[in-house]
Symmetry: C2
Subunit: 207 residues, 2 copies
């Protein structure tokens, strides 16, 4: 694409580096910013830089946080004996939005993916092990680890690896989130693997 | 949506102000920036602010430009006797990308739309009239004005208004870009108005 201005070209180039945004969309955003008041561009830029520079990761669960230890880990109303293991910080937000979980989290920072060169050592797996060990030493043992990973090849591999490692701890319950038909989903259009699993893992109707 | 961090919340809020970007997409972009090197966020922010602060509009054709007069208006290789009237700067880029036009442009900055409160005085229509008058005085008269507006209600209204105004100039040819079936389009799926116009405006096959 040809641009009449170097300034536009630079801005479009930078915006188009973001995932899912091509040159045409980037140009549309740039044109929007040009029409909008100058403060909007300034606020946008400030928010991005400040976010990137000042963001911290919770020392305990590795979730993004404004402080050294995140709100969830600090909260006295949450049950520290349960850890929900997730891939990314977005997953913590997704689980939090359900308002159905009141334990702590552990953000792995990805899943095992040999193709992308992500092995167990790249992830926060040893940190999870140490966290469980430390809790045991402090006489506040972790009772349950919930694996809330995506039901993909990589997610299942990671879950399998974690289960093998976590079995070393006695009295630690290892669970995984239920697979099944999404609420509001049509039975007829559900893939056979999901439907098969949801039949195998059927629950009593009173639940 | 709940965010664990004020910094994330601010950044997501600012990004979600952009057209076509919701909170979920904004969060995905923020997470991408968090994973990418810090320089990417800095470059993105700088490019946006610099673009917004330093951008100029060509004094002659009102196209976005890095200088007082844009490259197109300055170029000695372009025919200043033809003016292509477009709605926005994006349209100039679109026509430029065809590499089929070698005249000048005039960016109206919108189209007449009473619903949105855009009347003829909001647009650069009087500037276009003055430009044609000035060219006449300088003995370098404009020979042709091409109306390259969108074939919508607003675009057609604007074209009609402009034609009425421009008829006052003798020896000024007023043309509009051809409506018809897009190259690669299927005849069978073309709407009847477009197909009807393309039959009426049929051209000899040698063209």
């Amino acid at each position: 694409m040809q641009f009449s201005s170097k300034l536009i070209e630079n801005a479009v180039g930078e915006i188009a580096k973001l995932p899912g945004i091509g040159q045409k969309t980037a140009l549309r955003l740039v044109m929007h910013l040009l029409k909008a008041p100058e403060e909007q561009s300034e606020q946008l830029s400030k928010a991005i830089v400040k976010m990137r520079q000042d963001i911290k990761f919770c020392q305990k669960c590795h979730h993004i946080s404004d402080e050294e230890v995140c709100n969830i880990c600090q909260s006295p109303r949450r049950d520290g004996a349960i850890i929900c293991v997730v891939e990314e910080s977005q997953d913590v937000m997704a689980v939090e939005n359900t308002a159905q979980y009141f334990g702590h989290y552990h953000v792995l920072g990805g899943v095992i993916s040999p193709i992308e060169g992500i092995g167990p050592s790249t992830l926060k797996i040893s940190e999870l092990i140490r966290r469980i060990e430390k809790a045991k030493e402090e006489d506040e043992p972790i009772k349950e680890v919930i694996l809330a990973l995506s039901p993909t090849m990589e997610g299942d591999t990671t879950a399998f690896y974690l289960t093998k490692k976590l079995r070393a701890f006695e009295d630690l319950k290892i669970t995984t989130i239920a697979r099944g038909i999404p609420v509001g989903g049509e039975l007829e259009y559900t893939d056979e693997v999901t439907l098969g699993r949801s039949i195998q893992a059927r629950v009593s109707f009173a639940d």
